[in-house]
């Protein structure tokens, strides 16, 4: 029977089993479960958000249904918590065993494959079917944390070069400004641009699923592979659906992670039929405008300079009571 692993001894056994299977015990997780047989842990699995990980079955217990049982519990409980699709990273050699559990391969590259359970991608695309324009269209993926004049400049210039520009706002909630407010700032800041359509990325671009290291900032070396998966998912599934043939990016002089992502786009996307156009960043006061620069200003004492970095719509939001609560929760700024 599958049980939650909670005690110190449970955790020690889970660690050992995961190590012995060639995986690494990687907290955090929302759920950790396993199966005991005569006092020994023989199967284990964990869920972090909608990612299933650390799935392992002891060699002497393989060939049965233990993996199925563990995944059933992880998915069942995840569903009760409001999730309806689940992801697994695994090696390409394991793909068929997960396909037998109705997981679908999203992308595979070199040593890693990403599979999904629950047809979330299909449902995500279907939800946006009415927004599909014949094209050729362009795309920008941006976090907009918060929405700046730099974003605005990039969007305006890109929109002029394509039939329709899809602006994907990163859904993931790992930024200072919650998605709801980032989306609102972008909507208000681009409402005058007739051929720009806003979408959310869901889990399918620059999310903790496709690209966890984007949110870890300093870009660990393993990140290259993740970027590749992220871009393949975009080029093979999202771009064809929306008739996207070009992706626009702002040049990145400051953040190494974003610069690495840009380099990966130049390397990978053209081979998959997507043209990459890198536009120079807009500047203000002798330096490129970036969202991180805005955030720095917010935490400092010079909110007066904000007006040169963000459009009026964003400024109004930042200075509103709602906006202030986000960047100045203690009410310290004047």
């Amino acid at each position: 029977m599958v049980t939650s692993l909670l005690s110190t001894d449970d955790l020690r056994q889970a660690c050992d089993l995961i190590d012995a299977s060639g995986l690494t015990f990687e907290p955090p997780f929302d759920d950790l479960v396993g199966v005991y047989q005569s006092g020994r842990l023989v199967a284990v699995g964990a869920r972090e958000g909608h990612i299933l990980k650390m799935l392992a079955v002891a060699p002497e217990a393989q060939g049965g249904t233990l993996l199925d049982e563990v995944v059933t519990v992880l998915v069942g409980r995840g569903y009760q918590e409001g999730l309806d699709s689940f992801f697994i990273f695994t090696s390409p050699s394991q793909v068929t065993s997960f396909e037998a559990l109705n997981f679908h391969l999203l992308v595979a590259s070199g040593k890693t494959a990403l599979l999904e359970y629950g047809e979330g991608l299909k449902r995500y695309l279907n939800r946006h079917r009415r927004q599909v324009a014949p094209g050729p269209n362009g795309a920008i993926v941006a976090n907009c944390n918060p929405f700046t004049l730099g974003h605005r400049f990039l969007i305006e210039r890109a929109a002029r070069q394509v039939e329709r520009l899809y602006l994907f706002v990163v859904r993931e909630e790992l930024s200072l400004f919650p998605f709801e407010y980032r989306y609102k700032m972008v909507r208000e800041g681009t409402s005058d641009l007739a051929n720009v359509t806003l979408l959310d990325t869901s889990s399918y671009a620059v999310s903790s699923v496709t690209f966890p290291t984007y949110f870890l900032k300093d870009g660990d070396p393993g990140g290259a592979l993740q970027m590749e998966l992220d871009l393949m998912l975009f080029a093979n599934h999202i771009a064809p659906f929306f008739n996207i043939t070009r992706r626009f990016i702002g040049s990145e002089p400051l953040s190494p992670t974003t610069a690495g992502y840009n380099a990966a786009m130049h390397r990978i996307l053209p081979t998959l039929g997507i043209e990459v156009t890198e536009l120079e960043r807009a500047e203000a006061d002798g330096g490129p405008i970036s969202a991180s620069r805005v955030r720095k200003l917010l935490s400092g004492s010079e909110p007066g300079e904000l007006a040169r970095l963000v459009p009026e719509t964003t400024l109004n939001f930042l200075l509103s009571r709602e906006g202030r609560r986000i960047w100045d929760p203690k009410g310290e700024a004047a």
């Binding site: 049982e69 309806d84 037998a100 679908h104 359970y117």
Partner: protein, 87 residues
Amino acid sequence: MKISRKAQAGTMQSSDLMVFLEPAETLSISIESTVLKQFGALIRAKVEEVLTRNGVDSGEVRITDRGALDYAIEARLETALERATEE
């Protein structure tokens, strides 16, 4: 019967199926199966039969099947429906 909250029944083991139910304005049924090509139509017919018998005309019904037999489909769906309509 009305699907008034999220519910799930079944397992991912071979010869079984997972049923996911969610409230929705209209009725939608999606079926994934390792034997979809061979038995997709039969699975759908069974699911529709059980829904009709229970008077369910709205909700999102998702099935992931690993070759379950008719009575397993019926039992899992009935159970999920009961869970989705419990007070």
